[in-house]
């Protein structure tokens, strides 16, 4: 994982996560657990005995691997919240080694050529649609320098 941090130059210098008070995290928000960016699917609060201080128990799903993760933090302590972006790109090309050439919407990010078209269902869909000559739009989710293809659709607006 750490290698990828070095390779990805696009965000160099920018923070990949920010601190936030644990009790302020909401369901559906994001959190770093054991170095992985996750989406919070459940939060419960408990305390050790009636007169103890509250702790937040997070249940979250790894944004990239889908693994379920759990973490506990005192309510007043800070936890790390990953910066997650979701950008739409137009697929310009898929080269022989399986890498996309992606063009961002105007004013949103830069041209990307470092993302491989995955072999799962979404990737297959993108490949087929592209080979059929369609104008393909993909949505890429990015956090801590990792990327994932989350949606594929045909551009019907014609831009």
């Amino acid at each position: 994982m750490s290698d990828e941090f070095e390779v990805n130059q696009a965000d160099a210098g920018a923070a990949k996560w920010i601190p936030q008070q644990a009790s302020a995290i909401k369901k559906g928000g994001h959190i770093m657990i054991k170095g992985r960016p996750c989406k919070v699917v459940n939060i419960s609060t408990s305390k050790p005995g009636k007169h103890g201080s509250a702790k937040c128990n997070f249940t979250a799903i790894d944004l990239f691997t889908g693994d379920k993760k759990e973490a506990i933090s005192p309510g007043h302590a800070n936890v790390d919240v990953p910066i997650v972006t979701r950008l739409e790109y137009t697929v310009m090309d898929i080269d022989d080694s399986g890498f996309f050439s992606l063009m961002p919407n105007e004013g949103q990010g830069e041209m990307r050529e470092d993302i491989r078209c995955p072999d799962d269902g979404e990737g297959e869909k993108a490949r087929t649609m592209f080979n059929d000559g369609k104008d393909v739009m993909v949505t890429i989710l990015t956090a801590i320098g990792e990327d994932r293809l989350v949606d594929v659709k045909e551009n019907t607006k014609g831009n």
Partner: protein, 1093 residues
Amino acid sequence: MDRVLAELQEAARLMNAPSVNQEQRKQAESLLLKFKKSEKPYAVCKSILENSDDPYLHFLASSTLKEGVMREWALLGDTEIDQLRDYLLNYAHSHLGTHAYVLRQMLHVVALIVKRSIMSRDAAYLDTFVSNVCSLFSSPNTLNLGLEIAEALLAEFTVADKTLSSYMSYQHNIDCKRAIEGNSLYKIFISTMEVIDQLKNSPVSPHRREWLQLMSILNSVLSWDFGVILSKRLAQMSSLSLPVVNLMPSAQWAILKEEKVLALLVELHSAFSTERDIQHTTRHCIVQLGTLQGSIFNDQSERVNFLSRYIAAMVKLANGACAQPSNEEDHGIALAIRQLLWANTCQDLVNVHVGLFREFLGAVSELSVKVMLKSAKEDQDEGSTQDVVDVILDIWYTLLQMMDTLPRSPLDQCMLRVVECYVKCHLAPPTGIRDDSQDLDEVDVDTEEDDRLKFRDQLEIVGSLARINLEQTLPHYTSLLLERARVVRKVVENQEECTALYEDLHWIVLLIGYALADAPTDSDLTIPATILDYLAKQDVSVNVESTQAYIQTQLGQCADLPTQNPIIAPIFAIMELSALYQDILGKGGCHALSPQVFSSLIWALTRIMSSYHMPNERDYQFIPTSVVATFGVDSPISGWLVMFLVEKIISGLVYYSGEQSTVEDCLALLQACAKNSRVSLVLMKDDNFKKLVDRYTSGVLILPSSKANRMLSAALTVIMSHLPTNEHQHFIDRVFGSIRDSTVKMLFSPEISEVPSSPVLTQQILTALDTFHGIAAGIVNKIVDVVFNTVIPILEGSVNLLKISQHVQPITRSILELFCAIADSGILQIDKVQTHRLYETCYKVLKCYSDSAASRESLTVGVEDDRYDNILLCLELLSHLCSKDFFNFDEPDSYDETSSRLVLVGLDIIVPHIDVELLKFPKLSNEFFKLITFICEVYPEKVVGLPDNVVDQIVLMLKVGLNNYNDDITFYIFNAVSALSVHSATNPLFQKKIGQIIKHTLLLISGQELSAELYDTAADMVFSFICKCRSEYLTVVNEIVVQQEDPTSQECLRTAFSALIPATPTTTLTRRDKGKFSKIFENFAVNVYGICR
């Protein structure tokens, strides 16, 4: 016949065999179900009873007979019915050893047959039958059978709405009940008593079963509702609120008031001390006898005599219970005493001999103390003794309400004893006896209920009881609190484990909070009348100077309080502990202190300050001098108190920022201050408060939950409303100006597209949305323009935000919640132009949600939950928008058009996102059908005129809703269809669609798949349809009839359906006609049962 029998036997075997595969069991089940519905099943059933030895099959045969005879009643003659009845009786007689559940089912059929026969036979039919049954009591061989039949008859003839037999109409049920009350019930009772007299001298064990039956019959008679029979609607309403029936028989039942019935019951009760189930029933009989009242007593003295005997018996039983460890006995006696007090007025009780009543109170106190001490030693979550404690406290509360009439002494002393015992149970040793062993367990904050809610009823009653002896109780509380407060600092410094200490403090604070203030409704806390009365008589003056000196130099030092006034002193004790807490928090002792105790303190301050601090003279006839001098608007202390409260609120927000509930309690205190205009005005001048506002506006203050954020901005908005009108804008600019400007700027700038990917911006936006949610919720008439103008640009900007952040559920939800908040609290107050602007924005947001929902990312976890939340919010929004025309009286026409159109369009947008799966969430389906019904009832003509595809969608939803969800939904749907039928008279196409729903309902009724409680509403619907769409009704009826294969059934149905059509065509649906039709419809439901196949 033999083949059928063999098949059924095999099926029954498969149903009960342990190792059978699913498929086989399913087949067997369907065969048995088919048999249950078969035509004329009598011969097969008889053959089963005679030839099979499988009890399960016997039970099935009995049930089948019941279904069959009720279904085919009209087709069977009197002779056939009587033969069947006698056959069952003979069979039962010759097979007494058969399984009890089979026998009961069989006799249940007999009872049903007798009940249904009554009306068509002569008057003596029932009396003869009952006489025959009672004659069975006389021989030991037939006693058992006789008792079983009597039990079955009583069960069948009681009219309890929930168990109402739907094979007969409500009127028939009532008539039968009246018939049995004539003579037969009394005869059964007397015969039963005779048997008891004979049996009571012989040992219990050989007659255990008989005793159970005898007591159960006695119980049925004593629980009989002799009261006036209400109309069906009233009966349905009262059955919800009155679970207990008072015994009010006619003068014929004079025997009940005689000594011997009570004596017998008490004797039996002690005789059955080892038989728990029989004793349970005798106990219930005793409880019921205590409710005896009405015309049976010729004069007051008879009543008092009875009451005195009963009370004497209770004293004996209660004293006996005190010597036993049985929880059930405690519970039973407590229930009997409570029932006695509820059923009798204090005028009756006051006539009971003083000595006896004193003895009674003594016994009740003794029992109370025993029960409470026992509950303290038990795990509180188990709740079995907690139930008894609840009943005990109910008793004391009832006595408290009789306090004006009953002699005060020794009642007040008994109450003091109860309060002292309650306190003792909740304190740790050595003062109390609380068991702390479970307090170290992990507590789930989300599910754990706070004590102040969990024990609310108990604490409220104990609070009222404490006020009766406030000279003793309140100083006691005060000293308990101060004693413990003195230890806190030491404990924190030495870092000792002190859970027991905190638990004590927590409970004492709760007790004081409940004793000093009570709330007639949840929101209006007042100084209790008992306290006002006490202070009116003997007010202990408060020296303002010395108090001022004390608060300036000694508060928080645990010094002696400046006053001995029993009311003011505990308030200072609470303040003392709060000051001490704040001092330790300021010195970094946060982790050593209990957040729970701080929460309780803040809660108690909220409660006390809402009632005592700067009280409004208009709320009270009289305010005592000591309260005015200390907390009145002109007192220097009360001004200082505002500062004091603000400091506590800030401490909570700062030191407990991770404790959601503590922060919310602090903000509830702020809201309470904001509500009081006098406090508000002082508050705004306070420097600390200004700092708090500054911290808030500059975004430095972190609040742990959306709710907290909303509470704070709502409190600030309410504070603003107390200002002169010309200062509102200035206030809003100062407090919310920066967040408003920055949010509007962000919403309308290109930067907004970065919100979904930036946690910082997301958080910022969420906080802003929460703030505006609070502002919207705090809207009141005086500030409506200012608030609306502040919020509307945010709403308009949110539409675009919703589109961009469609994948960020917290934002989506917050936006929809904000719309709901403004629609909920503001819609009735905003003017015409504002309404239009709001409608337009709501339309856009719904449209935008709908567009984005279509493309929601399918990979996200928990999408279903999110969808549920969002759709529910959209429906709530539409419901709130509807309420505009509902309450708008000034210019109905101008709003009507847009509001109805908006709601219809809104539904059109939202409906495609709702599917049958989603409607399985009860809250959602409830909201959805409520809205649809509302629309159909208020704008039926518009619904009728909608485009075809929308109408189809709505009709489909109504049809799906009809038998998939609960009764409430069916109720809504019937109302909706009624309204639509009335307005579809000129639209044959629409009638056709509605006709399908009517058809579906009629089929449901014929299959008895509809709850009997819904018949009235169904009748209204069918009546509207018949009157307004007669030709379509005939078509529907014809469709149902031709589907039947059997010509007799066809004929039967045709007659039943035609009977529904009113003789004189009417198009005006009057209430009277509807009432008449309702009765006809009920008979119809009885007649068509089981005919449609």
